[in-house]
């Protein structure tokens, strides 16, 4: 009898928590995503300003920033730091290009025991692969459309 009541109470409590949780947690999630995502972009801004002041031309500076940010994302993932931050940051660590690097290193490390070809070599593209497939394909389509618009506008 007492057990039954206890179970019922704990279930009611769980329902209450579930009902109250989503709304407050989405705001908290968004604040974390905003702050950490913003900070990662500021790190990128720092390197952009640094390379510009070192005399890198404006049109090439993006290459430098992308390379450094990808390196940092991959390195911090290897150290296990990136995933600890990601627990709180959610999209704040997923959406920047460092998250793209993270999506490569994490599965590649995880599947190392399956070997260097089909383990590391293949699994590193489990998320990056689709990103490249859709990204590159849509850029080809956009390029072809642009070509024909230019052609007929002449």
């Amino acid at each position: 009898m007492e057990k039954k009541l206890e179970k019922q109470l704990s279930e009611e409590f769980k329902n209450m928590v579930d009902k109250n949780n989503p709304q407050s947690s989405i705001i908290k999630d968004c604040i974390f995503a905003f702050v950490i995502g913003g900070l990662i972009c500021d790190v990128g801004q720092f390197f952009m300003n640094m390379f510009l002041s070192l005399g890198v031309p404006q049109e090439n500076v993006g290459y430098y920033v992308a390379t450094v940010m990808v390196f940092l994302g991959a390195f911090l993932t290897g150290l296990g730091i990136y995933d600890n931050v990601a627990k709180y940051a959610g999209a704040g660590t997923i959406v920047p290009i460092t998250g793209f690097a993270n999506s490569i290193v994490s599965p590649a490390m995880e599947f190392k025991r399956e070997g260097y070809i089909l383990g590391v070599g293949a699994r590193m593209f489990i998320i990056a692969g689709p990103v490249l497939v859709y990204g590159i394909s849509s850029s080809v389509i956009v390029g072809i459309i642009y070509y024909f618009i230019k052609y007929f506008a002449k």
Partner: protein, 118 residues
Amino acid sequence: MDYIRAFIVGGLICVIGQILMDKTKLTPARILVSFVTLGVILGALGIYEPLVKYGKAGATVPLPGFGYSLAKGAFKGVDEYGLIGAFTGGVTGTAAGIAAAVFFGYLMAIIFSPKMKK
């Protein structure tokens, strides 16, 4: 000033991703794919360009910025080489990021092992 703008633009793009994740149960993989594709479309329509001018790294570091570079590269390729540029341009424009991701991704995966989950 650069830093404040980059922080706000970059932060807001991440918040959009966070809302999508919480409200629609989209997995991170789908978020990444849609953001890059969206970046290509917005870049091609010329909508992303002002964001890059204003937010600088705040707009180029998030993944829509990667899509924007793909679209910009494809346009540049077409301008320089005609139709074949649609195929060469996108990857050319993002070659540094892609090669760095493959190279450093592989290197780090070889050097490090997964940490114990707490």
